[in-house]
């Protein structure tokens, strides 16, 4: 049982390049989340999904797209990376009937955009 895994762990992009971050969970959780963490800002929700085939915008969705084609995977895409998207990205998942405190986080992806 690996929990929540994220791929890749690190990435450096040039401005304008695109990439996809992959989150996978093996706990059969319905809810999945993408956060970004910046110094002094706390975790901020980018997009989330309440089930396979559904996605919704969070607090800071601009410049990102997501897809949830399979229940266990949640993809975060950057179509044209900008330096402002330099951050640490965390994925999290939660069971449908559990409280908000029962989110399980992945280990993070460190992204630098130059």
């Amino acid at each position: 049982n690996a929990g929540v895994t994220q791929t890749p762990k690190f990435r450096v992009l040039k401005t304008g390049q695109s990439m996809t971050l992959l989150c996978a969970q093996d706990m059969n959780h319905e809810y999945m989340y993408w956060y970004r963490q910046d110094p002094g800002m706390g975790l901020r929700l980018i997009h989330y999904s309440v089930g396979e085939g559904t996605t919704a915008k969070g607090e800071v969705p601009d410049g990102y797209n997501v897809s949830r084609l399979k229940k266990q995977n949640f993809l975060l895409g950057l179509e044209s990376a900008a330096p402002s998207q330099t951050s640490v990205y965390f994925c999290a998942s939660r069971m449908l009937d559990r409280g908000i405190h029962e989110q399980y986080f992945g280990p993070g992806t460190r992204l630098t955009v130059t």
């Binding site: 929540v4 706390g42 901020r44 969070g58 999290a92 986080f105």
Partner: protein, 113 residues
């Protein structure tokens, strides 16, 4: 004004000290309060969870909520070097809200042997 504020530290204490970590918030509708611990280059992990006002104890950790002052605290007794991490507070209006969890920026703690 940020919705949740937290002193970023860093906070450095000797082993065995009592540590007090605090958050203030502005939204009086928050009812669910959480503390997460985040080791360097790792994801956050839940430490404590409380509802409404009052105290909750779990081993060396005590979470305290004062809704009248919009202030929450995490106390660590007999602190250990393994407690060195960043501590994030988080809060929400609803227990099952799928999107409205607000995180503080975190306080960095170092426990010196």
């Amino acid at each position: 004004q940020k919705e949740v504020e937290q002193d970023p530290g860093p906070l450095s204490v000797p082993e065995g000290a009592i540590v007090s970590l605090n958050c203030t918030y502005s939204n009086s509708a928050f009812q669910y309060f959480m503390w997460y611990r985040q080791y360097s280059r790792k994801g956050p992990e839940l430490l404590m969870y409380t509802y409404s006002s009052g105290n909750k104890e779990d081993g060396r950790f005590t979470a305290q909520v004062d809704k009248s002052s919009k202030y929450i605290s995490l106390f660590i007794r007999d602190s250990q070097p393994s407690d060195s991490a960043t501590y994030l507070c988080a809060m929400s209006e609803e227990k099952t809200s799928y999107d409205k969890v607000i995180f503080g920026p975190g306080t960095s703690l170092s426990v010196i042997p």
